[in-house]
């Protein structure tokens, strides 16, 4: 089942890229949309069949490289499932929203959509891998289509941005490689080498070794997430890439960072995770505040959204590392909601930028009057990004803050500042761009077309529905969180965990 979910978009991507559709780019686009919709249907089937009582499901396990102990092993728990579903939801949305973005690039339209579908396949592979080696392979492999997507389509400095992205990611990936190799050695010491997460979780490593390997994994995930101080590649990339690429990158691929923290850092190195908690929490809070403050000061809308994500990822990491069930539930839910709200934000502002020809806030104003639907969509997306009650991200942000408060009131106090700042960056942007008197340059901006509305509407709908009724997602996530916390607390329960689980 999971293999099918990887193969459908992958083979679909190859077909899209190489099918002889040069004369008819529309066919390419329809084909790409079709493939991504089939994947979405598979994802829905997967979600329906998933038993909410926890555990890893849809397990596949075949020996791959015996000498390395590497398995081709797939399976999803609650967290994996939500992220796979998120990927499957966002891809068709992005394909539809980027309908014409692939036409003006370095390579053909077919290549654009081919890379997108390949990326979807690899991202699903990342979230479904239950073997560290396989995870690493998918993790690194996602870089290649992303690199070409950033470098091939978008702003004038995209080649530079693409290289910056690749170098940061590769550096992180290679540090992780050292840790992955280290895990093999530890595993081989204990008996037959195996890279299955389930086997590695049982491994009894020395404290020092465990911490060293933890740091290796954490650095890679922190770059990916991205956290302060290794976030600098993200704004540069979102500024240059097409909105669709940015969505795939920020809403899906960056989740690999936080997903990896839960799955591997907490799952394999419980002791080291507790040891690192203070530092990580400080970094997370810096990310929240720093990202938000810089977002306020941005003139380029795409850069602004990039920085808001740095802030949001700070919240997610905070939720993970406060080590209690509220925080973790919040963080896991946040990953899903952030995917939706940031995607909406990128896409709608992308429509605006495309019409206007510039992403500079300074040159815009009064758009509300000429394009009311666009303005309305952006307002909803923006409000969800600042966690307005009633919209989905509010639930997750609140849970994270509750978790932070349980951990320590001071942490929560600092994190709450992030909400205030979020209101500022979104509302100031909205005010400058959409309200005020109409300006001659913006007079010609047309409102959203049918295709654009159809692409983004499902996202906004989901944001509203999950804002009022988050239970479906939470009920899937809850057992997984319990498992994770039980695992982290098993060897040596800490007060923070006791407080959280005692409720």
């Amino acid at each position: 089942m999971l293999t099918a979910m990887i193969l459908v978009p992958f083979i679909g991507g190859l077909v899209v890229a190489f099918a002889p559709t040069k004369k008819n780019p529309t066919l390419t686009k329809q084909l790409a949309l079709g493939v991504s919709l089939v994947t979405l249907v598979l994802a829905i089937v997967l979600a329906v069949q998933y038993q909410t009582d926890g555990g890893t499901q849809f397990v596949e396990d075949t020996m791959w490289i015996r000498a390395f102990g590497a398995h081709y092993a797939l399976g999803v728990d609650g967290l994996g499932l939500t992220l796979v579903v998120l990927t499957a939801i966002l891809t068709p949305v992005v394909v539809l929203a980027s309908w014409n973005d692939g036409d003006e690039g370095r390579w053909s339209t077919a290549a654009f959509f081919g890379f997108m579908l390949a990326l979807e396949a690899l991202a699903i592979g990342v979230f479904a891998a239950t073997d560290v080696f396989l995870f690493y392979v998918f993790f690194e492999a996602t870089l290649i289509p992303t690199y070409f997507l950033i470098g091939g389509w978008g702003g004038p400095n995209r080649a530079r941005a693409a290289v910056k992205f690749l170098v940061f990611s590769l550096a992180g990936g290679l540090v992780m490689l050292a840790a992955v190799v280290g895990l093999y050695v530890e595993s081989a010491k204990a008996g037959t080498p195996s890279y299955l997460v389930a086997d590695l979780a049982k491994l009894d490593m020395g404290t020092a070794t465990g911490r060293l390997l933890f740091v290796g994994f954490f650095i890679a995930f922190a770059i990916k997430a991205p956290m302060f101080p290794v976030h600098t590649w993200l704004p540069d990339t979102t500024e240059q890439a097409t909105p669709g690429t940015s969505v795939l990158l920020v809403s899906i691929l960056d989740k690999i960072g936080t997903f990896g923290m839960v799955r591997f850092c907490l799952g394999i190195f419980p002791e080291a995770s507790r040891w690192a908690t203070p530092v990580v929490i400080v970094l997370a809070i810096i990310s929240i505040l720093y990202g938000a403050v810089l977002a306020i000061g941005q003139d380029n809308i795409s850069r602004l959204i990039g920085f808001t994500s740095v802030s949001h990822f700070g919240f997610i990491v905070l939720g993970i590392f406060v080590m209690n069930s509220q925080g973790q539930n919040g963080a896991n839910l946040y990953m899903f909601n952030h995917g939706l709200s940031t995607a909406a934000l990128f896409l709608v502002s992308g429509f605006l930028i495309k019409r206007h020809g510039s992403a500079s806030i300074r040159t815009l104003g009064g758009v509300e009057k000429v394009a009311p639907v666009l303005a309305g969509f952006l307002l909803v997306a923006g409000l969800s990004s600042l966690s307005l009650p009633g919209l989905a991200p509010f639930v997750s942000e609140l849970l994270v803050l509750v978790g932070a408060f349980v951990h320590s009131p001071w942490t929560a106090a600092f994190a709450v500042l992030g909400i205030v700042l979020a209101a500022m960056y979104i509302l100031i942007m909205y005010q400058r761009v959409f309200t005020g008197p109409e300006r001659p340059v913006t007079a010609g901006i047309s409102d959203l077309g049918v295709r654009e509305v159809v692409a983004v509407a499902p996202l906004l709908l989901l944001i509203v529905v999950l804002g009022f009724y988050p239970k479906p997602v939470l009920s899937v996530l809850n057992p997984t969180v319990k498992d994770t916390l039980a695992h982290v607390g098993v060897s040596d329960p800490t007060p923070a965990v006791a407080e959280g689980s005692g409720k």
Partner: protein, 528 residues
């Protein structure tokens, strides 16, 4: 009066080596007796057949020795040659790479009907004689027997089980290569300079090597690896002789694998030599020399591991730093690949540090020998294919090796540029390519033996190497062509085959390396 005892030779076991040597001799005779017009066909066919036959026979020998049934192999030729798992693996690998080498040597379409070697090497560059040679379409078909001699040296080198054989093999391997380096048809001065540099420095390093042999002989009282190993194991004194000998011999071998600080020749020679020779030499020499390095230090000097390991820690780190950092500044494709090969030598030396005593290694663990042999396999094929691609990107003056000339290749020839990008990603160690599995294996071996600080350095420098490989990709795909841009000459099926095979191996070993690694695990055991 001593009676002469004829040495006992196991001809059946040594047959692959003898086939290649015999083929080389026949090639010399062909040069003397076959008319000029027919030499090309006869020589290239002979070389190809000889290499194939030797390859097939290597497989037969492997089966006869029962290596896959827990037999260790055997020491033959009065203790001079050890035919064991690593030897046979390297034979097979060298022969496979040589076959690709023969194909590249035999390419005639790129130079419009003649070999890419000088028409008449004795004619001075820029003279009337040179012009005449090229208008008459002269060719040096001697390159094929020279290649076969070099191959025989490459086969003997890792199999040598005593110091003298080792030295003879080193020279047999090197001398033809010195000559081949100077035979480029185009840019002949650069080529001759390369040959001269390679020869002088090579001779210099051989001198070190021989002096090292003398010291070790003085210490152990024997040339045989087994006796040296015994002497080292039961040593009480004589440290200076042993350490000095080991150090000097290491210089000679590290020169051949182009490890820093003995790497200085590599970029110049790789750049100046005819690209077919560069590819063959880069792949074959490294394989053979690493085989010899492994056997010498693991078998003969294994007991002195604690003495040589610190030295190799330093060398491995230095080599990786030099290779990856200096590569950043290169603007010539062949020089870039040369520095990349230095960096690869460093990664392999990292694996070399994974030496562990036999008792410590559990069944199923990745051993250092297994890891390095696997890395050599991956490295050899991707290097051959990469250099083969360099030969087909051309402009009016022959190969366009300047990196600026490669700008826009992605538009000109997406397939070729795509394949080259894939090979570069493999060299950078991106998963699903053989470069990744190879790197993983050497790193795992090194970490298992506690050399994790070196691995950490290696990992960070891998990121640096990735940067310059990616730069080439950027140039090919993201830059607009300068001037009229590069043109991709359509080569004959020979060069295409080299590219196809090299790429296929790189892909297959990246996706399903399991069978090869398992087999290697069974046979990667030296005998004494």
């Amino acid at each position: 009066m001593t009676t002469f005892n004829a040495p006992h030779l196991e001809y059946a076991t040594l047959l692959p080596l003898l086939i290649v040597l015999g083929g080389a001799v026949v090639g010399v005779l062909v040069e003397a007796f076959v008319p000029r017009e027919r030499r090309y066909v006869v020589q290239s066919a002979l070389a190809g057949v000889v290499v194939l036959a030797a390859g097939v026979d290597t497989a037969v020998v492997t089966r006869n020795l029962g290596l896959f049934h827990d037999k260790p192999g055997k020491v033959v030729a009065e203790g001079a040659i050890a035919v064991d798992g690593p030897t046979l693996f390297i034979w097979g690998l060298v022969l496979a790479l040589s076959f690709l080498g023969v194909l590249m040597f035999a390419e005639r379409k790129l130079e419009s009907g003649v070999l890419s070697f000088a028409g008449q090497a004795a004619a001075l560059p820029g003279t009337e004689a040179e012009r005449q040679a090229s208008t008459r379409g002269l060719e040096h078909t001697e390159v094929f027997p020279l290649l076969l001699f070099a191959v025989s040296g490459m086969m003997l080198f890792p199999a040598a089980n005593d110091l003298l054989t080792l030295f003879v093999a080193l020279e047999v391997l090197s001398l033809p290569l010195y000559l081949l380096c100077g035979l480029a048809r185009r840019r002949r001065l650069l080529s001759q300079e390369a040959a001269m540099k390679y020869f002088l420095l090579g001779a210099f390093s051989s001198a070190f090597f021989v002096y090292g042999i003398a010291l070790v002989y003085g210490y152990a009282g024997s040339m045989g690896f087994a006796q040296i190993a015994n002497a080292v194991a039961g040593r009480t004194d004589g440290h200076v002789l042993l350490l000095g000998g080991m150090g000097l011999m290491a210089v000679g071998l590290l020169f051949k694998v182009s490890a820093a600080p003995f790497h200085a020749w590599t970029p110049d020679v790789y750049q100046g030599a005819p690209t077919a020779v560069t590819g063959f030499m880069a792949a074959g020499t490294k394989v053979a020399a690493f085989g010899a390095l492994l056997r010498l230090f693991y078998v003969a000097f294994g007991g002195a591991r604690w003495d040589w390991e610190p030295l190799f820690w330093a060398i491995a780190i230095l080599t990786m730093v030099v290779g990856s950092v200096l590569a950043l500044a290169q603007t010539d494709m062949k020089r870039l690949l040369a520095y990349s090969s230095i960096a690869h030598a460093g990664f392999m030396l990292t694996g070399f540090l994974g030496a562990r005593s036999l008792g410590v290694v559990k069944a199923g663990d990745i051993s250092a020998v297994q890891a390095i042999l696997f890395y050599l396999l991956t490295y050899g094929f991707m290097t051959m294919a990469a250099f083969a691609i360099v030969t087909v990107v051309r402009d009016a003056g022959g190969e366009a090796t300047g990196m600026a000339r490669w700008a826009g290749l992605g538009k000109e020839s997406p397939l070729l540029a795509g394949v080259f990008a894939f090979l570069l990603l493999a060299m950078a160690g991106i998963p699903l390519t053989s470069g990744f599995t190879g790197k993983w294996a050497v790193f795992a071996a090194a970490v298992s033996a506690g050399a994790w600080p070196v691995v950490l350095v290696a990992v960070l420098l891998s990121a640096v190497t990735a940067f310059f490989y990616v730069r080439v990709i950027v140039v090919m795909f993201f830059s607009e062509p300068v001037g009229e841009g590069p043109s991709v000459a359509v080569p004959s099926v020979l060069t295409m085959l080299v590219i196809a095979v090299g790429t296929a191996v790189t892909l297959v070993l990246g996706v399903v390396p399991g069978p090869v690694l398992d087999r290697l695990g069974d046979v990667a055991q030296f005998i004494r």
